[in-house]
């Protein structure tokens, strides 16, 4: 009699031994154990007899030849008919195996998700957004001194000048308005193009609202004409600018 561990190990393999599913080494191990262990041998004999009983006892049914012949004929006829049937029915059979349907639906969903993601990235990178990466790249790629890539005003440049008579700042006379106008400061930024026009002007302010005076000022600056900034060689270039405007209320003296 071998030890209990060996018996447990051998009994795990008894069915595979019985069914001829063991490799040579395992087969030899089990066989040697069964030669020595009456308990395991009895267990094995029980399964072997059961197997013999099942093989002998499970009826091998008499095959109804005529019925099978009719079935064969029916299957072949139906198969041939199916092969000729319409596309619609063929498509419905495409759903017979749902694994392919799930795989196809998954692929479609993944492709759609990728396409939407790509579209979102392209939209975010659009040059129409001034703060986008694409816009920054476009600015850097533009020639230095062009409107898209202006100089900052510095001592190397001949500064731009207002063309005489072109800038008309709105003047407000208190007497003409029904309310007192407080003194204000406005700041605008933009680009002065090489042909002396103002481009991309916008108001710099922290508040959310723009009062009518600011709009009037912005319009006046935009419509003004300038002598452009120039390099030392006289070539006109674009420069960026910040325009600060202060309203000053001038009150008449007492003598008036």
């Amino acid at each position: 009699m071998m030890n209990a561990a060996s018996c447990a190990s051998v009994r795990e393999h008894l069915h595979a031994y019985l069914d001829g599913e063991l490799g040579p080494a395992e087969y030899a191990g089990v066989r040697a154990h069964l030669d020595d262990c009456a308990s395991c041998e009895e267990e094995f004999d029980g399964y072997r007899d059961l197997s013999s009983l099942l093989r002998a006892g499970i009826e091998t049914p008499e095959v109804p030849s005529e019925a099978l012949t009719r079935m064969t004929s029916r299957v072949v006829t139906l198969t041939a008919a199916e092969a000729r049937q319409s596309l619609r029915v063929r498509l419905s059979h495409a759903f017979d195996d749902m694994r392919f349907v799930f795989a196809g639906a998954g692929s479609f969903a993944a492709t759609l998700a990728c396409a939407l993601g790509l579209a979102a990235v392209l939209q975010a990178a659009s040059v129409s957004r001034a703060d986008s990466l694409a816009s920054m790249m476009a600015r850097m790629a533009a020639p230095r001194g062009s409107t898209a890539n202006p100089f900052s005003v510095d001592p190397r440049l001949l500064p731009p000048k207002v063309q005489q008579g072109s800038l008309v700042m709105p003047a407000i006379l208190v007497d003409n308005v029904p309310y007192a106008v407080p003194d204000e400061e406005y700041a605008f930024s933009g680009v002065l193009t090489p042909d002396g026009r103002v481009a991309g002007i916008e108001m710099l302010q922290s508040g959310a609202t723009i009062d009518p005076r600011a709009l009037e000022l912005l319009y006046s600056i935009h419509e003004s004409r300038f002598k452009p900034a120039r390099l030392k060689d006289g070539r006109p270039v674009a420069v960026s600018f910040v325009w600060i405007h202060s309203d000053v209320t001038i009150k008449p003296g007492k003598s008036l």
Binding site: G20, Y47, L50, P61, L68, E82
Partner: protein
């Protein structure tokens, strides 16, 4: 000991050569819609399909109906056969899938007509020699034996009954059974062990 009845597992691997030649040619012709090839395929495998269906479902008409369904399914999906197994094993797999779907409601329908193992013994009396299956002088009438074994088989869950039939009746290897059931070989081993254990207990009763 029974050395003469026990064999070692033959060392072999399934290759294209196992399913090459006539079988692949037959499959290809069937896929192309050759009616003679379809007839040949059905004729070659119909006996096996019918018998397995009958063992799994236990009813002649159901087995015939299932056999027809199986072959229709075979021809609808034959283009997906890539020689990943022998054609016979691939057809086994289809039989088991279809039978598994069908037996769910069929089992419910049959349950009312089935007699339990105990009822069967009561009706037919205790059979001689069944107390010890390992007794060498077990002699049973074939019909009684078949009835008793069928009653014991009916007590098994479908998965376990299928493994027993595939192994004991059709003589499939563990690998073939695993492919037919679409499970791992380890699962086949455990199902077979549980099934035999239960069958032995059932047949030892009374």
């Amino acid at each position: 000991m029974a050395e003469e009845t026990v064999v070692m597992k033959p060392v072999r691997a399934l290759t294209w050569s196992d399913v090459a030649g006539d079988e692949l040619s037959l499959v290809q012709r069937c896929a192309d819609g050759d009616e003679a090839a379809c007839t040949e395929l059905v004729s070659t495998h119909q006996r096996m399909v019918y018998q397995l269906s009958l063992h799994l479902l236990g009813d002649h008409n159901e087995a015939l109906d299932l056999s027809q369904e199986v072959f229709l399914r075979v021809f609808r999906t034959i283009r997906s056969f890539r020689g990943q197994s022998a054609l016979r094993t691939w057809i086994y797999r289809i039989v088991i899938n279809q039978a598994s779907n069908r037996q769910r409601w069929w089992r419910r329908r049959r349950r009312a007509q089935q007699v339990s193992f105990e009822q069967h013994v009561e009706a037919h009396g205790e059979l001689p020699g069944m107390r010890r299956l390992d007794s060498p002088d077990v002699v049973l009438g074939q019909k009684e034996l078949a009835g008793r074994i069928q009653a014991a088989l009916d007590t098994l869950p479908f998965d376990q009954r299928t493994v027993v039939v595939l192994r004991e009746v059709d003589g499939l290897s563990y690998d073939e059974i695993a492919f037919s059931l679409n499970v791992a070989v380890g699962t086949v081993k455990s199902r077979l062990a549980r099934a035999r254990e239960q069958l032995r207990a059932e047949l030892r009763q009374s």
